[in-house]
Symmetry: C2
Subunit: 241 residues, 2 copies
């Protein structure tokens, strides 16, 4: 319960209205592989991830799918659909066992009309989502396969605190491949080429030769997360990749 009240979306809300919102909330569990919702459906609820990984993706008739994002604890699903209640544009699937908090869409819509703090928090969230999409977009359109894989590893490295030279892939390689817009085979081959450049890959464990090993793959989005950004230590001051 405390974790719920600590969610960014609810930051700064007065306890009364928070309780009011949570009265209609529901917690659900979804097994690995379960579909949480499908594109084309009407959005009836708004979700927040409490635990686990959720894959957001689009599918087409011939079974192809393209992954928009892989979301985790604290992330929201379907902020954008709250307004225009058009059919859902995406599918969501539980990557592992997932615990979700969900709130009726109509409820959120109602609250947004009156609760200013909530509206501002939501605006901030949606902005973040939008930024992430732009970043994802960039990956797929103007980076090579190798750059995408390097970028992903660097992101992992930065998220894991910037210092540890040993990383662990957070989920299946085929899912990572999909997120990076390539086939598992291609991902595998690309890891091989990185191996030749000194980055050791063993199953799902990665060891970097040094903390600068991935700096070539830095871009302006990632730079802001790096503790060495804008310091003399940064080997790559103009991250324009």
């Amino acid at each position: 319960m405390d974790t719920i009240k600590a969610l960014p979306l609810f930051a700064g809300l007065d306890p009364a209205s928070l309780n009011d919102i949570l009265k209609y909330a529901r917690i659900t569990n979804h097994n690995k592989g379960a579909l949480i919702f499908m594109q084309g459906e009407q959005a009836s609820r708004f979700y927040i991830i409490l635990e686990g990984w959720v894959k957001l993706f689009k599918g087409n008739v011939d079974g192809q799918e393209s992954i928009l994002q892989v979301l985790s604890t604290g992330d929201n699903l379907l902020e954008t659909v709250i307004f225009n209640d058009t059919p859902l544009p995406v599918n969501a699937q539980a990557v592992d066992n997932v615990k979700l908090l969900s709130i009726p869409a109509s409820m959120i819509r109602e609250k947004l009309k009156n609760n200013h703090a909530l509206a501002v928090n939501m605006l901030s969230t949606v902005s973040g989502r939008s930024q992430a999409l732009i970043s994802q977009f960039e990956q797929l359109t103007l980076k090579t396969v190798t750059q995408r894989v390097g970028w992903f590893l660097l992101k992992l490295f930065l998220e894991s605190g910037d210092r540890t030279k040993n990383l662990k892939l957070p989920y299946d390689k085929s899912l990572i491949a999909g997120y990076l817009g390539m086939k598992p085979e291609t991902f595998s081959r690309t890891l091989q080429t990185l191996k030749e450049q000194g980055i050791d890959v063993e199953r799902s464990s990665i060891s970097l030769p040094d903390v600068f090993a991935l700096c070539d793959f830095c871009d302006s989005d990632l730079a802001v997360q790096c503790s060495r950004h804008n310091t003399p230590e940064c080997p790559n001051p103009v991250c324009m990749n």
Copy 2:
């Protein structure tokens, strides 16, 4: 001035605070080809397009560029950056002569804190932007070149009112090609193949044999704009492309 007050972002605002906002607004003109802002800069102002076309794109070091969106009258630039004042993630360029309304970012930020109607409008706008990005994303990842071109023509057809069988390309073919994630050569060749299927292309004028000519390219996003959607007239009821 009336057009400004009719902007979706300002809908329902009380006149006093609207005037307050507009006090700090500025109108600027930009010639065809001019850069309005560049990625990496700090966002100092927030823009609304009053007239003309603006291209939003990302560039990388070796001169490649990928186009996120081509925006027009009434659209906003940089809603998302208002919050986190990180460096801009994109470039904006005037496609033709452009007239912009701009407001200091700090000003908007301030107003959003207090003005609930403005926050709600902004939220709605950002949501729409997010949806558009998802749609654009789908185009590039799980559609063939031909489907993308067909989709673009269909979008044009629907925007032009659903009935006229004669269309006009709104801007340069090379820009359309870029927006659809392909090279001008590829776009040209694809138009040829469509020509063989009965869609007449002559310079920048398109004539459709009948109003259903493009229905194969419909998807759930476009369907909602179609006057024949959910009627017996629709030849393609399950638009799952």
